[in-house]
Symmetry: C2
C-alpha cells in the first residue's frame, strides 16, 4: 500500500511553500526548482490544494501561491485527503452501501481500524510541526 508520488511531491511542495512564503507569494517555478519537480507536474499537484482553499494564488507578474491559513492550522490529514483521497484501504469503509455485507463483515472492521489509525497519525501533525522539526535538524530537507 503505497502513497502516490502526487502525494509525496505535493506534501514536499506544501512544506517548501510554508518555509518560503515569508516574503510574499512563492512562484511555482521556484518550488519546482528547489524540489526537483517539473513545473507542469507541480501545477497539477497544487490545483487540488487551491480548490480546497488551503492555498491561494495570483496570476501574472509578482504572482504565485501562498497558504490560506497559518501552518499550524493545516493538519496533514487534510493535506493527504486532498492529494491522495481517503485513507480507507477498502472502498466499503467509506461507502458501506456498495457491499450488502458491510454491516456484518468482520474484515471490514479491520479495514476501518486501519483507516482510523492513519487518520489519527496524520491529524496529530501540522505543517508547523514539520517546519519546526526541519529547523531542529541541521540540514533537514524533505525528499521523499
Amino acid at each position: 500500500m503505497k502513497l502516490s508520488t502526487k502525494t509525496r511531491y505535493g506534501t514536499r511542495a506544501l512544506l517548501d511553500l510554508a518555509i518560503n512564503q515569508e516574503k510574499g507569494p512563492v512562484q511555482l517555478k521556484d518550488i519546482a526548482q528547489r524540489q526537483s519537480i517539473s513545473l507542469t507536474y507541480l501545477e497539477h499537484l497544487v490545483t487540488p490544494l487551491i480548490n480546497a482553499g488551503i492555498v491561494r494564488s495570483a496570476r501574472g507578474r509578482k504572482g504565485g501561491i501562498w497558504l490560506a491559513k497559518s501552518p499550524q492550522e493545516i493538519r496533514l490529514d487534510e493535506v493527504i485527503l486532498l492529494l491522495e483521497g481517503s485513507n480507507a484501504p477498502v472502498e466499503c469503509v467509506d461507502r458501506p452501501d456498495i457491499c450488502p455485507r458491510s454491516g456484518s463483515c468482520v474484515t471490514r472492521d479491520i479495514w476501518t481500524e486501519m483507516k482510523k489509525a492513519l487518520d489519527d497519525v496524520l491529524a496529530a501533525t501540522t505543517l508547523q510541526d514539520l517546519m519546526d522539526r526541519q529547523n531542529a535538524g541541521t540540514q533537514a530537507v524533505a525528499r521523499s
Copy 2:
C-alpha cells in the same frame, strides 16, 4: 492508498479456510466457490501463504490446504505482509539507503509513523479473533 484485491481476497480465503478446516484439508475449489473467487486466481493468492509456511497443502484426491498454525497464532500483520508487502507507504521507510536525505527528512518521519500505526492495528488481531467476531454476529460473512 488502497489494498489490492489480492490482499482482500486472500484474507477472506484464509478466514474461510480457518472456519472450514475442522474436517480435514479444504479444497481450493470449495473456497473459490464459497468466496466467489475464480479458482485460478485463488491459487495465486494462496501460493505466498504456503511458501511462507502459514498454510500447508497436499495434492491429489483428498488433497487441499490447511493452516500450519492455530488461528490464534496467525496475526493479520503477517498475513498482510505476505499478500500486500510492507505497510510502509513510501519505500524509504524500509530502505533508508535509497534516499540520501533519509536521515534528516521530516516527511519520512510521518511515513514511518503511518507504517507503525498500521502494523500495530494488524498485529493486534489474529485469525481467531476474526472467527470469534464472525460467530458473534448472526450471519456475518467476510465480503470485502
